[in-house]
């Protein structure tokens, strides 16, 4: 059995390399056959010399890099690799230095690989590369000039391997020069095997995007070697959508096609390009099951029908006493198939889509096309069905109130993009007005100048209202960042951020000033993107946007319109991920120390952009005036709508300055944010607001009280939903507002038919309890 498995691994070695770690499906498939653990598999392959000899040099190197500690196997593999080095073979031909490579059993890096060699072998490997590089100038000066931009031995080795195999055509050389010119980071991250002519048929933007991610490149190389027709389909599809579809749709499709084709090239063999593309864009869960188990000639639709019929058969077998358990699991199975069939998404995706885009739907409804609107509505309606029979009718397309037509996978990806864009549009208008306001100030000469780095830096003082996306270049979260060549610009353009196509920012405006802190070498960069396609991820809390992967992913993002976002954020900041670009401004605040101001001016000087100066004290003063005005309005109207505005504005303003925390010591990275000087202002405002609240409650009808509580409850929920990291925040204490009123007590008495005698009897107990004695030992006394 083990032998068979080993043969299977050797046969599919490239696939195992790329998917062993990443793909759970692949892992389970191998594990389930033998019951072997990951470690067992690792040992099995490294102990077998014959198996090792059948691995490609690249994969042997990857196995070697994943080994920990000293072992006989490690010594043996090192010998095998060094023999190849001595024979003049390039052992790093398919590897480059950037980021993680999928090893056979663990992800590995260049440094893992090199450090596994003995010191003697390490220096001999490096010496060989260095010698080759030094001689290369005389060998081919033009190519040497290109290779000279490389900063890492491993990348140089990867470059030589491709050069020696003659894959650099004139076209490839031209592309490499263009990459150097456009983004040196990409040149230092790319796998040069991607310069083979086939890949150069990709449009420039998509190729540049792919080259940032070595793992994505690896998948495409695997497809090229094993299923060239799928690579053609991939390239044609990417070229047809680039420029015609939302950038996030393009990236999502690239990722899905590359992963599916690389993992399933054997199963996709014989299918048309269009069918392969359609399948690759579908949700992977049932698709993988179909590709693995589907019957010959069966379409995925037929497969899903068959799967659904199985759930109907299971339904009839449910035993009464297990019904609640089984029904729920059966319901989810049915949902899974329904969403896969009609929307090409999983149940999890359906729930996510409603959660991410549905909360503030009314704010963007107008900007959406009919299909996008209807699709979300339909998903919501389907999720609200609970009855199994209703789900059966729905699957059969016979539901009375929900019509079912298949939304193709491609359309579903585009629908998500259109939602993102619709939400983003609510921001770009506001960003434009901030940009215009700054431009006007500059045109009118309302500016000052500061000298930095021998240049005059323009400083614009900005008053409210304003709206920015603000990036803290050094949050101090992981210690102070070091600058590259003492330059802010170089740090921004040439850093370890090679694979980042996104920048994480916070959204600030006059009502909510929540942002990350800046450390010793930090600068606040301001952005006012005017293309909604560049704003791709957002949330009313820290969404931990994954800026280092090729598509768009984050933790619990939530799309909310510009008008409502500040009022829904209660945790430090709301996070937005935007496409990386040169900043529009450097932003300074009146509470910055000299070092931070100097940094800001230097950064602005290097980028050649203006500095925007915001006075926090003035912002607080405006917030205070605004709240006083709102309270005046309430005093005239006594309306709940006005009261709600006061509560939400107060909570928003306070949260922006982090004054909503309890007095416990902040030991997180926001420790350096100190706005205690504004605490008194907000304490005083809080006292006034509480007075208004008490007054409202005294005179309110039962209905108004219920409405007020629902406003307060929604505030409490905001904290609850965003308080996942146990940072000490003050949750809204409902008790502060749950004053017992006369009207409610009378209702209580009426509804429960409480009589004088009932109350007298209990009062007897109360009096006893007041005196600390048991009830029977006292007499009722009037109070």
């Amino acid at each position: 059995m083990e032998k068979e498995l080993l043969e299977k691994i050797i046969k599919n070695q490239d696939k195992v390399v790329y998917f062993m770690v990443n793909s759970i499906a692949e892992m389970v498939r191998i594990d389930s056959e033998t019951g072997n653990s990951y470690m067992d598999l690792s040992e099995m392959i490294t102990q077998d010399e014959d198996a090792l000899s059948k691995l490609s040099t690249n994969n042997l190197a990857l196995v070697f890099s994943s080994l920990l500690g000293d072992s006989k196997a490690k010594t043996k593999i090192e010998e095998m690799l060094m023999a190849k080095v001595k024979a003049g073979e390039n052992i790093f031909s398919g590897i480059n230095a950037e980021y993680d490579h999928m090893g056979f059993f663990y992800s590995t890096t260049w440094s893992d690989m090199l450090s596994n060699f003995s010191e003697e072998n390490q220096s001999s490997i490096l010496k060989a590369i260095e010698e080759r590089f030094n001689n290369f100038k005389t060998e081919n000066e033009a190519m040497y000039n290109i290779a000279d931009y490389l900063q890492d031995y491993l990348n140089i080795s990867n470059f030589f391997s491709c050069y020696d195999r003659g894959i650099f055509s004139e076209k490839a050389v031209a592309v490499m020069k263009k990459i150097i010119d456009k983004d040196l980071n990409i040149f230092n991250a790319m796998n040069f095997n991607m310069m083979q002519d086939e890949f150069l048929n990709l449009n420039e933007d998509s190729l540049m995007h792919i080259l940032r991610y070595p793992n994505l490149s690896s998948k495409l190389l695997l497809i090229k070697d094993n299923a060239p027709e799928l690579l053609d389909a991939f390239i044609n599809e990417v070229n047809s959508i680039q420029g015609n579809e939302h950038i996030s749709t393009v990236y999502e499709e690239i990722e899905r096609m590359a992963s599916c084709f690389a993992q399933n090239y054997s199963s996709l063999n014989g299918r048309s390009s269009q069918e392969a593309i359609d399948l690759s864009l579908k949700n992977f869960k049932l698709r993988e099951k179909y590709l693995e188990n589907g019957k010959q000639g069966q379409s995925i639709e037929e497969f899903l029908d068959e799967e659904f019929q199985k759930t109907i058969q299971n339904e009839s077998k449910i035993e009464e006493k297990y019904s609640s358990f089984t029904q729920e699991s059966l319901r989810r199975d049915k949902y899974e198939i329904i969403f896969n069939k009609y929307f090409s998404i999983s149940l999890e995706d359906a729930e996510r889509i409603v959660k991410e885009y549905g909360e503030d739907f009314s704010s963007i409804e107008e900007g959406l096309d009919d299909v996008s609107k209807e699709t979300l509505g339909k998903i919501k309606a389907i999720l609200s069905l609970e009855n199994l029979e209703e789900l059966n009718q729905l699957f059969a397309g016979k539901h009375l109130s929900i019509t079912t037509e298949i939304v193709p996978a491609k359309s579903m990806i585009a629908i998500e993009s259109s939602y993102r864009e619709a939400y983003a549009k609510t921001y770009t208008k506001s960003f434009n007005s901030t940009a215009n306001k700054i431009s006007e100030e500059i045109q009118n000469g309302n500016v000052s100048f500061v000298e930095a780095d021998g240049k005059q830096v323009l400083v614009v003082k900005l008053t409210t209202p304003f709206n920015f996306l603000i990036h803290s270049s050094d949050t101090g979260f992981k210690g102070d960042k070091e600058l590259t060549n003492n330059s802010f610009k170089e740090t921004w353009t040439n850093t370890e951020d090679t694979s980042h196509h996104l920048v994480a920012t916070a959204n600030i405006d006059e009502s909510f000033m929540g942002m990350a802190p800046i450390g010793k070498n930090g600068v606040y960069y301001g952005f006012v993107p005017n293309n909604p396609q560049n704003i791709n991820l957002m949330g009313n809390h820290d969404i931990d946007s994954h800026v280092r992967i090729s598509k768009y992913a984050a933790h619990d993002p939530k799309y909310i319109s510009q008008e409502k976002m500040p009022y829904s954020s209660r945790r430090v900041y709301s996070e937005f991920a935007i496409e990386k670009a040169i900043p529009d401004y450097v932003i300074i605040f009146d509470d910055m120390d000299e070092t931070k101001l100097e940094n800001a001016y230097k950064a602005a000087s290097e980028f050649g952009i203006p500095v925007v100066s915001i006075n926090k004290r003035e912002v607080v003063k405006n917030q205070e005036e605004n709240l006083e005005n709102l309270m005046d309005e309430y005093r005239k109207s006594h309306s709940l709508v006005d009261l709600e505005k006061i509560i939400k504005t107060f909570e928003t303003n306070k949260a922006g300055w982090l004054l909503n925390r309890v007095d416990e010591k902040d030991e997180t990275f926001t420790e350096s944010i100190q706005h205690t000087e504004f605490a008194e202002t907000f304490n005083n405002l809080g006292i006034k607001i509480r007075e208004i609240l008490s007054e409202f409650q005294k005179n309110a009808s039962i209905e108004d009280l219920k409405s007020l509580r629902s406003v307060l409850e929604s505030e409490a929920k905001l904290y609850k939903s965003q308080n996942e990291l146990n940072v000490p925040f003050t949750k809204v204490k409902m008790s502060d507002f749950l004053t017992i009123t006369l009207e409610e007590t009378i209702e209580l008495v009426k509804n429960n038919d409480i009589t004088q005698e009932d109350v007298a009897k209990e009062t007897h107990r109360l009096i006893a309890a007041e005196k600390g004695i048991e009830p029977e030992q006292t007499e009722v006394e009037e109070k």
Partner: protein, 150 residues
């Protein structure tokens, strides 16, 4: 010594939970010994949650709990004028109940056609509010089902 019934213990649990939600300004008016009395007598296992979206009268209180709360509010929170308003309703309820009793205990009807009605009223007096099964109870039951299958 007064015997504490299980329904009174449950009522105490509901009252204690309600007091947790009371603003400090009002809670401070209630003697600590009184709060302690209800805490001491509460059923600690009884799950009760306040629905903050609902008014006081819409909470799922048992009748005993509603009586205790009324007594507390009357004695410690409301002023004389406010108490007069509550007293008026209490009196109204007392009269209503008295009338019902008279109707029920007419001697010629005790064993006659209205017997059923009497029993019904008795049921009302003693019945506990029925609470929704909590999720924890459901889970616990499910586990029992699994183990008992064997």
């Amino acid at each position: 010594m007064e015997a504490i019934t299980s329904s009174y213990k449950i009522a105490c649990s509901q009252v204690v939970k309600t007091l947790e939600y009371m603003p400090e300004s009002q809670l401070n008016k209630i003697p600590q010994t009184v709060v302690e009395y209800y805490k001491k007598n509460m059923d600690k296992e009884y799950p009760f949650e306040i629905d903050t979206n609902s008014t006081l009268s819409e909470q799922q209180y048992s009748k005993d709990a509603a009586i205790i709360l009324t007594a507390i509010y009357k004695r410690y929170l409301f002023d004389e004028n406010e108490n007069k308003k509550i007293d008026a309703v209490l009196k109204e309820n007392s009269i209503k109940l008295e009338k019902q009793k008279k109707e029920l205990y007419k001697t010629d009807e005790i064993f006659g056609k209205k017997k059923g009605k009497k029993l019904k009223i008795e049921n009302i007096d003693t019945q506990m509010t029925v609470y929704k099964e909590s999720i924890f109870t459901k889970v616990a039951k499910s586990f029992k089902n699994i183990f008992w299958k064997k």
